[in-house]
C-alpha cells in the first residue's frame, strides 16, 4: 500500500491554519479574508451619500430622520477568493538526490490544499512544465481532500519549464484575480522574473515558494565534471573546486534574491525552502512567519 501524501497527525495540526492574502479581491461572499471593498457583508464599514439606484435596504433611516439626508450604510465584504496553486512539474524537480524536490512540492501543495479546504476555500491545483497541464479543482471542505491528494500523487515530473508560456496560458485560463501560490525551483531556460511580473500585473497576488535541494545551492561534487541539464539535456564540462563552489552559491543566492524582489515589489511574498526542511516545519515556520498561513 502506497504511503499517504500527508499523515493524519499532520493533517490534524493543519486544521488550525488559514490561508491569508494581502490584497483585496472582489469575489463571492463567504470567505474568511476581509476585503477593503464594501459590499454585502455583515460588518459595518462606512456611510456614503445615497445615489440613484442604490439599494434602499442599506439606507440609514435613522440618520435621515434626524438629518433629512439619505445616507447609505456600507458593509465590509469577506469574499471567497480563488486560490490557485501552481505546481512545477518539470524534470528539474526530479533532481536533488535523496531529497526529491518534486515529492517535497507535492506534499507542500497538499498541505496548503488541505488548509484551504478546511476553510471552505476553492483551491485549484495547477501543475505546469512547458505549459499548464491538467488541473484539479477542489472545494467543499476537508472531506474533499482525498481526490486532491490522489491527484497530487498521480502527478509525474516531466518536460521543461517555460515560465512565459505558462504565464500566458494561466492568464487566459484564470481571468479572475486571486491568490497565486507558485511552488517551483524557478529553474527555467528563459528566466522567471518577467513572467512573474506579468502575472502580478494581471492582478494576482504572488506567494512564491522557492524550493531547492541542498545540491542546487551547494553542489557537493569536485573535480572534473560533466554536467547534464535535467530539462534540456545540455552538457557542460568543467573543473569544479571549493572556491568555485562558494562562487556558485553566491550566484544562486543572487538569483533567489531577484525572485524575492519580484514578489516583494508587487506586494507578494517569497519563501525559500530547502528540501532538508520538513514540510511540517515549513508550514508552521517560514510560511507562518510571512503570514501566508497562520
Amino acid at each position: 500500500m502506497a504511503e499517504p501524501l500527508l499523515d493524519q497527525l499532520f493533517l490534524e495540526r493543519l486544521e488550525r491554519l488559514t490561508i491569508h492574502w494581502v490584497r483585496s479581491f472582489p469575489g463571492l461572499i463567504g470567505g474568511h479574508n476581509t476585503s477593503r471593498f464594501a459590499g454585502a457583508g455583515l460588518e459595518f464599514l462606512d456611510h456614503r451619500h445615497f445615489h440613484h439606484g442604490d439599494d434602499l435596504r442599506a439606507v440609514n433611516w435613522r440618520a435621515y430622520m434626524r438629518l433629512e439626508k439619505l445616507f447609505l450604510k456600507m458593509f465590509q465584504v469577506e469574499p471567497r477568493v480563488p486560490v490557485r496553486i501552481l505546481l512545477d512539474a518539470s524534470n528539474s524537480m526530479r533532481t536533488g538526490g535523496d531529497c526529491d524536490k518534486f515529492n517535497y512540492v507535492r506534499r507542500l501543495a497538499g498541505a496548503l490544499s488541505y488548509v484551504g479546504l478546511v476553510r471552505l476555500e476553492t483551491i485549484a491545483l495547477q501543475p505546469f512544465s512547458e505549459t499548464l497541464r491538467d488541473s484539479h479543482l477542489c472545494s467543499g471542505g476537508r472531506h474533499r481532500f482525498a481526490p486532491a491528494a490522489a491527484f497530487l500523487t498521480s502527478l509525474e515530473a516531466r518536460g521543461r519549464t517555460h515560465f512565459f508560456d505558462m504565464a500566458r496560458e494561466f492568464a487566459s485560463a484564470y481571468p479572475q484575480r486571486g491568490l497565486l501560490i507558485l511552488i517551483s525551483d524557478f529553474f527555467g531556460e528563459d528566466g522567471c522574473e518577467k513572467p512573474l511580473q506579468y502575472l502580478s500585473d494581471l492582478g494576482h497576488e504572488l506567494l512564491l515558494l522557492h524550493v531547492w535541494a541542498e545540491e542546487d545551492r551547494v553542489p557537493p561534487w569536485s573535480g572534473e565534471l560533466e554536467l547534464v541539464d535535467a530539462e534540456t539535456g545540455d552538457k557542460l564540462e568543467l573543473s569544479f573546486e571549493d572556491d568555485v563552489r562558494e562562487l556558485y552559491t553566491e550566484r544562486f543566492d543572487a538569483y533567489a534574491r531577484a525572485i524575492r524582489n519580484v514578489a516583494l515589489r508587487n506586494g507578494g511574498r517569497y519563501i525559500g525552502l530547502c528540501t532538508k526542511t520538513p514540510v511540517e516545519e515549513a508550514m508552521f515556520g517560514p510560511l507562518s512567519q510571512v503570514e501566508a498561513v497562520y
Partner: protein, 640 residues
C-alpha cells in the same frame, strides 16, 4: 650500484604496480564524472572555457611527476640501494668446526675443547659484517656441511651451539679441500676459511696435508691436555688350547708428562689380570696377558686414571663361548680311530658299539665304521667301508690293488698329496648328481661326499687299515670332511677393539677374495677395499664390525674414540685469532636513508604545492590518498 633487499625484477614490478595505481588514481580523479543537475544556469556563470581547462590539466604534470619520483625514491630506499659492487661487498666464509674425538677432552679451564671452540667460533661470527655469509662445516674424519652459506646469525649461532664432538679423528686436509671447493662452487666472493679447533690430526693425514690456502684463519683452542688412553685391545684363542685367550693391550700417553697407570682387566666382573703401565710422553706401550675360559661373557679393560678424556680409558668386549662338535663313533675297533679324532681340540669323540646304535643320537656327526645301521642316520654321517647293502652310495664294484688318486680340484681334497698310494681293496661307488668325489681309483670314486640336508661321506676302504694309515693325508681328509660338515667349529675368531673411522685389516697370503665380507651391525654390508693384501673399510658410528675371511673371522669392536696422535701447528703466515675480522673491505655504501629522506621531502613539496582537501568521493570511500590538483588562484575568482 645494486639492490640489497630486492632483485631488479622485484623492484621494477613493484614500481610498475605502484606507479600504475598512482597514475590510474590521478587520471580517475581527472576523469569527468557525469552529474545530472537541475539547471546549468549557475554553472555556466562559474566555469571557464574547456580548452583552457585542458591546457591547465596538461600543465599540471609536476604533481604527478613529484609523486612518481617520491614513490621511486621510497622504493629505492626499501630495496636498499647501495653504491658499489655486490661482488665486492659481502664475503663468503667457511667455518670449520673441529668435532673430532679429541675435542671432547676437558681443558685446564674446566671447559671441554669443543666449548672453547664454540666460543671462538661465535666470537668470529659476531665480528663479521652482517652481510657476510658463513658456511658451518663439521670437521672430523669427514667434512660435513651443517649449514649453507648463511647470513642468518641466529641460525649460525644455533648450529654452532649444537656442535658436539664425535668419535673420529680430524682430517684437516680433507676439510680444507672441501672448504676451498665450496667457496669456489657456491661462493660469490671468497672470504676466509676458518678453522676452530685443537689441531690434533692423525699422523697419516698430517703427512698428506695439502698446501694451506692463503685465506686460512685459525681460531686456536688450548690443546695442552694431559690424557692417557687405550689404543687397542686384541684377543684371540690360542691355537693349541681353545680355552686359552691371548690378549694384547696398547695404551698411549697424549700428554707432556710421564705417567704410570694401573691397568685392570676383568671378565664377567672378576679380575683376570692387573698390570702397571709406564707411559712416556707421546709414546705407546703394549703388553700381553692370557686368561682361560670357555664361557661367554664381557671382558673389560680399564685404565685406572682420571684424565681429560674418560672415553678412551675403558674398552669392553663380548667374548663368545668355546664351541666343539660331538662325534659319535660306532665301531668294533675304536682304537683305530681314537688317535685320529683326538688330534682335533674342537672335537668331542664318543665311541659306541654297533649294538648300541640309536637312529637319533645327541651328536653332530656320526661315524659308522664297517657297520650297517638298522635305521637311517638322521645326522651328518661318515660311512667307512660300509656293507654294500647298507651303503648310502651304490657300490659299483670291488677292486683290489688299486691306485688311489686325490681329486685336488675339489675343495674337500684341498691340500691332500700322496705318491702312488695303492689300496689293497676298496669299494667303487656310483656317483650321483651333486656328489663330490674326493679320491678315485680306476673304476670310479673310492671316497665320496654327498651334500644335502644331512651331509654324508663314504669311504670305500678303511684309511687306518690300508696303506694310508701312515700318510698325512689321512687326518687331513678327516679334518676336511669334519670342517665341511661343521664349519662353525673350525672358524678362527679374533677380537679386536679399535677406533671409529678407517680400519685397516692385514690379510693372509692365501685368502679367498670371493669369501671376504665386512658386516656391520644388523647385517649391513660395509664397502671395503683390498690393496696389497690389506683390507680397509670405514665405519662412522660405534658398533661391532665382522670381517669374514673364509674360516677366519675378525670381530672389531669400534668403541674407542679415535684420538689423533699428531699435533698440527699452523705456520706463522696463517692468521690466528680474531685480529682484523671486522675490518674487511666494505666498498658498498648504504644510501637508503638519503633516498627515504628525499622521497619524504618530495611528498611534502607536492603536498604543499598541489594538495587540496580530500575530495568528497574519496572521503566517502575512505580513500585517503590525495591526488594533487592545481589550486585555483584568487585571480580566477576575480576574473569570473
Amino acid at each position: 650500484m645494486f639492490f640489497f633487499n630486492l632483485t631488479a625484477a622485484e623492484f621494477f614490478a613493484l614500481f610498475g604496480a605502484l606507479s600504475s595505481v598512482v597514475v590510474a588514481l590521478y587520471l580517475l580523479d581527472r576523469s569527468r564524472r557525469r552529474q545530472v543537475v537541475a539547471t546549468l544556469r549557475f554553472w555556466r556563470q562559474t566555469e571557464e572555457p574547456t580548452q583552457r581547462k585542458h591546457r591547465r590539466k596538461i600543465q599540471q604534470p609536476w604533481s604527478l611527476i613529484l609523486q612518481l619520483a617520491a614513490i621511486t625514491l621510497l622504493l629505492l630506499a626499501i630495496a636498499q640501494l647501495r653504491i658499489g659492487s655486490p661482488d665486492r661487498h659481502s664475503r663468503d666464509h667457511v667455518l670449520l668446526m673441529d668435532a673430532s674425538a679429541w675435542m671432547g677432552a676437558r681443558a685446564a679451564s674446566g671447559r671441554t675443547l669443543i666449548e672453547e671452540a664454540r666460543m671462538a667460533a661465535l666470537r668470529y661470527v659476531h665480528a663479521l659484517p652482517s652481510t657476510d655469509r658463513v658456511m658451518l662445516v663439521r670437521s672430523d674424519a669427514l667434512a660435513t656441511p651443517v649449514t649453507g652459506f648463511e647470513t642468518n646469525r641466529q641460525a649460525l649461532d644455533n648450529a654452532i651451539r649444537h656442535m658436539q664432538p664425535g668419535t673420529a679423528a680430524l682430517n684437516l686436509g680433507l676439510s680444507l679441500d672441501f672448504a676451498a671447493q665450496a667457496v669456489r662452487l657456491e661462493g660469490r666472493r671468497a672470504g676466509e676459511i676458518v678453522y676452530a679447533g685443537a689441531g690434533r690430526l692423525a699422523p697419516e693425514t698430517l703427512a698428506e696435508m695439502p698446501a694451506l690456502p692463503a685465506n686460512l684463519r685459525v681460531l686456536p683452542v688450548p690443546s695442552e691436555v694431559e690424557n692417557c688412553g687405550l689404543r687397542k685391545l686384541s684377543l684371540r684363542r690360542a691355537a693349541a688350547d681353545p680355552e686359552l685367550w691371548e690378549a694384547y693391550v696398547t695404551a698411549r700417553n697424549y700428554g707432556a708428562r710421564p705417567r704410570t697407570l694401573p691397568l685392570t682387566v676383568s671378565f664377567g666382573g672378576a679380575p683376570v689380570a692387573t698390570r702397571r703401565l709406564t707411559l712416556a710422553p707421546g709414546t705407546e706401550t703394549s703388553l700381553s696377558f692370557e686368561f682361560r675360559t670357555r664361557a661367554a661373557g664381557w671382558l673389560e679393560a680399564r685404565l685406572r686414571t682420571s684424565d681429560a678424556l674418560p672415553a678412551d680409558d675403558i674398552v669392553t668386549f663380548e667374548l663368545p663361548a668355546e664351541q666343539a662338535v660331538r662325534v659319535l663313533v660306532y665301531s668294533q675297533e675304536p682304537d683305530l680311530l681314537r688317535p685320529l679324532l683326538a688330534a682335533n681340540p674342537h672335537v668331542e669323540t664318543v665311541f659306541r658299539r654297533p649294538g648300541d646304535y640309536q637312529p637319533d643320537p645327541k651328536a653332530g656327526i656320526v661315524i659308522l665304521d664297517r657297520f650297517r645301521p638298522p635305521q637311517p642316520v638322521s645326522k651328518n654321517a661318515i660311512y667307512i667301508e660300509p656293507p654294500a647293502a647298507g651303503s648310502p652310495a651304490a657300490v659299483r664294484a670291488h677292486l683290489k690293488d688299486a691306485t688311489l688318486r686325490w681329486r685336488s680340484d675339489q675343495f674337500l681334497a684341498a691340500g691332500l698329496r700322496t705318491h702312488d698310494t695303492r689300496i689293497e681293496s676298496t669299494q667303487v661307488f656310483a656317483s650321483a648328481e651333486g656328489d663330490i668325489p674326493i679320491a678315485e681309483v680306476d673304476g670310479g670314486p673310492a671316497i665320496l661326499a654327498r651334500p644335502g640336508k644331512t651331509k654324508t661321506a663314504v669311504f670305500g676302504f678303511h684309511p687306518l687299515r690300508s696303506a694310508l694309515q701312515y700318510e698325512l693325508a689321512t687326518p687331513l681328509v678327516f679334518a676336511n670332511v669334519l670342517k665341511w660338515m661343521a664349519p662353525e667349529i673350525f672358524l678362527r675368531v679374533e677380537l679386536e677393539s679399535g677406533s671409529i673411522g678407517a680400519v685397516t685389516v692385514p690379510l693372509e697370503a692365501d685368502y679367498d677374495p670371493a669369501s671376504v665380507r665386512v658386516v656391520a651391525d644388523e647385517k649391513l654390508n660395509l664397502p671395503f677395499t683390498i690393496r696389497n693384501r690389506t683390507l680397509r673399510f670405514f665405519c662412522g658410528a660405534p658398533g661391532i664390525v665382522r670381517v669374514v675371511l673364509g674360516d677366519r673371522q675378525m670381530v672389531y669392536s669400534l668403541n674407542l674414540p679415535e684420538i689423533a696422535a699428531a699435533r698440527w701447528t699452523p705456520p706463522k703466515s696463517v692468521r690466528t685469532g680474531l685480529a682484523g675480522v671486522g675490518g674487511v673491505e666494505d666498498s658498498a655504501r648504504d644510501i637508503w636513508q638519503w633516498l627515504a629522506l628525499l622521497g619524504a621531502l618530495m611528498l611534502a613539496l607536492e603536498w604543499t604545492l598541489f594538495a587540496r582537501s580530500v575530495p568528497l568521493w574519496m572521503g566517502r570511500t575512505g580513500l585517503v590518498l590525495r591526488i594533487p590538483f592545481a589550486r585555483r588562484e584568487e585571480q580566477r575568482r576575480k576574473a569570473s
